[in-house]
């Protein structure tokens, strides 16, 4: 079937034919075994999932305080009431609110010299997700969409970019920007499976009507076929894949002792769901923990939130390592920005992007590395200052993506990461 839009290369035609050919056979066969028909042979795709790189992002929404996490300054006028504790890396201390994570520090790297010059929630969110400042008229794809597009094998079993949120679920699409809505985020609100994944008919009956739908679409495609019609028909195949895999979204299928280890709170469950999705081959999983925007009662809220974070995150990181997955999974813990060293009259800290921290682990990252330093009170970066662009380059390099490359998407060149920045070499193994 000739493809009259896009690149017209032979390779493209072959892939389309292969994909459609494989899919067209489905309606005639039994519904079971759908999963393996959607790709290469079962063994090969399992091998690919094993060698493929994956990403896990833990997003601490609201701006978590670097002083209560990765870069404590106890005993100073800005340090607050908490102490610093030793970690599994000699000489590296983090806040006492993260005892479990402290034991994992040898698998992690800290970036303490982050200066992103953006104190606004929305713009900070955009900056940290895309590696570029938000400007009117330009839209850049999120890290998750980039991972979905370039790391996810074409026949991958799950949507490439999955985001577990504490609240609303459902639609995504704009995150992918120029890459197209196929690489948008699938939001799992409070970790619930996507809506409408149950079949309204028995599997064989459903397969029969999908075959009918495909036959009609194939006939229509001979008259009119565009990127949009292809995107549309593809979403039905993706939907079928999701339906076939809906058990993957059910965290109650994990053993009860695991649910206890991760914590009987939403974040704990979401971390366990993230493990489940990553083990099922999901390319990019983001878990959002809320709410760190502690303009008042910073210490009480961080105590509570980090209690949940520490348990869920350290358990997840340890499990990924124990199961041999950490070497192929990049882990990033970040926020829109940090919080002010000065404490306001409500015992809170306000937005602060001039000197804050993020944490990394896993694929391509040098365990135990600490890059960047702030001064005694945490008011300024004094060594190895980096911005969002550098971090973005580092993530891509860690999983083997060419950030400096140009990608041709629908006839437009996009550079995956800001060309003005470069990876942080000291973090990379």
């Amino acid at each position: 079937m000739r493809c009259d839009y896009s690149c017209r290369s032979d390779e493209h035609v072959m892939n389309r034919r292969g994909f459609l050919g494989g899919v067209a056979g489905l309606g005639l066969g039994a519904a079971s075994g759908l999963g393996s028909l959607f790709g290469r042979s079962g063994a090969a795709s399992a091998a690919m999932a094993d060698q493929g790189k994956q990403m896990l992002v833990v997003w601490l929404a609201g701006g978590s305080s670097q002083l209560e996490t990765w870069d404590p300054k106890p005993g100073t006028v800005t340090g607050g009431p908490f102490r610093a504790i030793e970690t599994s890396v000699p000489g590296v201390k983090i806040c006492e609110l993260l005892p479990g994570t402290a034991k994992q520090m040898h698998r992690m790297a800290l970036v303490r010299g982050v200066n992103t010059k953006e104190d606004d929630h929305g713009k900070g969110h955009y900056l940290m997700h895309t590696g570029r400042p938000q400007t009117p008229g330009a839209e850049h794809p999120h890290l998750g969409s980039i991972a979905a597009r370039f790391l996810n094998p074409e026949e991958g079993p799950l949507p490439g970019y999955i985001h577990i949120t504490p609240g609303g679920g459902g639609l995504g699409g704009s995150e992918a920007a120029i890459l197209g809505p196929k690489y948008g985020a699938l939001y799992l609100g409070n970790g619930q499976p996507p809506n409408n994944t149950g079949r309204p008919l028995p599997p064989e009956a459903d397969a029969a009507r999908h075959a009918l739908r495909r036959r009609m679409n194939d006939r229509f495609a001979t008259r009119r076929r565009t990127a949009e019609t292809d995107a549309y028909t593809t979403t039905y195949e993706q939907a079928l894949q999701l339906m076939e895999r809906r058990e993957v979204f059910d965290v109650s299928k994990e053993p009860e002792r695991d649910r206890d280890r991760y914590g009987s709170h939403d974040f704990g469950r979401h971390c366990l769901l993230a493990r489940r999705l990553l083990e099922a081959g999901s390319t990019f999983v983001q878990v959002t923990h809320s709410n760190y925007d502690t303009h008042n009662e910073n210490f009480a809220f961080h105590l509570e939130q980090l209690g949940e974070f520490d348990q869920g995150f350290s358990t997840l990181l340890d499990d990924l390592a124990q199961r041999g997955r950490l070497d192929n999974t990049l882990v990033v813990v970040m926020s829109e920005f940090g919080r002010t060293p000065s404490i306001n009259y409500l015992y809170g800290r306000d937005h602060w992007s001039a000197a804050w921290s993020i944490a990394l682990a896993g694929c391509g990252i040098k365990g135990g590395a600490v890059v960047g330093k702030t001064n005694d009170k945490g008011t300024e970066v004094v060594d190895r200052q980096v911005g969002a662009g550098h971090l973005f380059h580092t993530y891509l390099k860690a999983v083997g993506l060419d950030a400096k490359g140009d990608f041709l998407v629908n006839g437009r060149n996009i550079q995956v990461a800001d060309p003005a920045a470069s990876p942080i070499a000291e973090l990379l193994a």
Partner: protein, 120 residues
Amino acid sequence: MEQTLHDRLKGNEAPFVSQFGRAAGQPQEASDSTVHQALFLANGEPVNSWVDGFAGRLAAIADNNALADDLYLSILTRRPSQEDRNDLVAYLATRPADRKGAVKDLAWALFTSSEFRFSH
């Protein structure tokens, strides 16, 4: 009369808007397709119950040609081609005991087809 029609159909809007609409102030790009929309159209209650009602009326038409005409005109606002007619008759023949179920499938397939989505 239009007002009456509008009022009667208004209740059906909400699930479609939630799947296909955008937040206020965002540009509406009608051609974006998402897997959530596909799940909604394929498995969601509004579409499946609608085709059920529609099929009930159509299945009563004994003549397959007239059935094909009604089906295609209602959903795609065109007459079926000879190939379309052949396909329809062949599909009905696979489910002789369940004409309504077969018609329901045909209606569903047309409704979820790319022609319906893009051709009008």
